[in-house]
Amino acid sequence: MIVPGMGKEGQLRLINSRVLIIGAGGLGCPAAQYVAGAGVGTIGIVDGDVVETSNLHRQVGHATSRIGMKKVDSLITHLRGLNPLPTYIPHPFHLTPQNAADIISQYDLVMDCTDNPATRYLISDICVLLCKPLVSAASVQKSGQLIVLNCPPTPQGALDGKHAPCYRCCFRKPPPPSSMVSCGEAGIMGPVVGMMGVAQAGEAIKILASALHIPPDDSASPPPERNLHQPTLLIYTYDLDSAVGPYSFRALKMGGRKKNCFACGENSTLTLEGIKAGNPNYEQFCSVPTARCTLPPEGRITAAAYHAARERGELTEHILIDTRDSEHFSFGSIEGAVNVPFGKLLMKAAAIKRDGTPASEVLPPGLGEADAPIFVVCRRGLDSQETVEKLKELGLDHGGERRIMDIAGGMKAWKEEVDPSFPYI
């Protein structure tokens, strides 16, 4: 690892450093490999989950033979194989407002490799209060983001001159939960999240080797290289669809510490004691209630009851609409199902309202006008309920004459109640 700018002094700083990796998943695994490989002396890993088969395509620190093992133990097993010399510290539970400060205070630098906004805000707040630099990355589907925060770290409320931003300075408010999807739910490309985890390790190694993580000492004047670098958000976009465009990296210029920041700003009331006592409430901050419809029981049928009715021959004439995306549909569907992806259906419904085209056009030709009852199934049972409402709103129920029902719980329920061999992915 001897390259210009990285010599013995830098390597010694790495050996004497303590890094905390929060999350042993798609970001944490590749990040940990390179941090361990670089010879960081102490590596702590926080995660409360166990290894599952669906993790393995991206969480490269785990293995088929370790399915069911705690992720922290599985990852440390892998890291010891790479480099037995560092001290590895397992924290086999999730980070909470109650345990966060005790854990983070034992380390020099924090890597946020988590998968939810509530924990991201918690980590940043604790890092502000404890003066720890934070290397934060995130990734979902085909995009990734990376930003170095709070580095060099300066005390909460310090505003003279330029100071590095915290997570809240850059991302003041979380997105509404309805717009957020987890990796398990939305899917993720292994190489995309892997790239972000590796980039995170690169930044962490750089900060530690150049001693940027050490808070300024009042008695000594800061060395010249401590100047704040332009806070930069890296975004990586990867595309499978040539119609969308090629891959791209973009480095975006972000602002510094904000005077009115809730966490690091001038009149911040954020304290370690407050966080421990539940103030602010991270879960509440990140989950504004959303208005998703729930159909009355008579508008729904269980997967088992739908299957039984088919088996008994009671449903010879009916239409089954599957609103999953075509990629999911391509892996398998219930016999006779017609694929009408939810997004396309919404777009068609909007066009009908706007242009006054016949409402029946929301469904493929012939299906809208018919009298046969309609059943709607989706992946987990939410989009299908909205679809039922939408079809009724468009008058496809012929004023209540025609039955339009939701298959409760979607294809997930179908797998659980009817066909265990169904590939629910």
């Binding site: 999350g23 998943g25 798609g26 970001l27 944490g28 490799c113 988590t114 998968d115 939810n116 906004p117 991201r120 990355a137 995130a138 990734s139 979902v140 589907q141 995009s143 990734g144 983001q145 850059c170 991302f171 003041r172 408010k173 979380p174 997105p175 509404p176 717009s179 957020m180 999807v181 987890s182 990796c183 939305a186 993720i188 999240v193 972000m196 958000l233 975004i235 976009t237 595309d239 669809d241 119609a243 969308v244 465009g245 973009r250 480095a251 975006l252 210029k253 972000m254 602002g255 997004g343 919404l346 777009m347 419904a349 909007a350």
Partner: protein
């Protein structure tokens, strides 16, 4: 605009990232000829652009994934020529020819 021979427009590029492209015909980059002035006569700014995009470019009816209560929804960063819009005056920034405006939703997965 029956009697006006032509409406003055500003050529700009608008990019969407982090999943927002889904709302705009699954296309990441759009060349837009933005009217140079708002109906009020004031020069086109970012707030006007956001409204214009909702009315003219968005193919998906789920506009609440882009705009909430008349403003860009929380969790979307707006970048003006690759700089956070907070460095440039946010909604009030007056759009210049050949500007690149990027809308990117913040990610939380990992």
């Amino acid at each position: 605009m029956s009697d006006a021979t032509e409406v003055a427009t500003i050529p700009i590029t608008v990019d969407f990232s982090g999943g927002l492209e889904m709302l705009f015909d699954n296309q990441r980059r759009h060349s837009v000829a933005l009217p140079a002035a708002q109906t009020s006569g004031k020069p086109a700014n970012i707030a006007f652009l956001i409204d214009y995009l909702c009315k003219n470019l968005m193919k998906d009816p789920r506009s609440d994934l882009f705009v909430l209560d008349g403003h860009i929804r929380p969790g979307i960063l707006v970048l003006i020529n690759d700089a956070d819009w907070e460095l440039e005056g946010e909604e009030a920034y007056e759009i210049q020819p050949r500007d690149n405006i990027l809308f990117v939703s913040t990610l939380h997965g990992g």
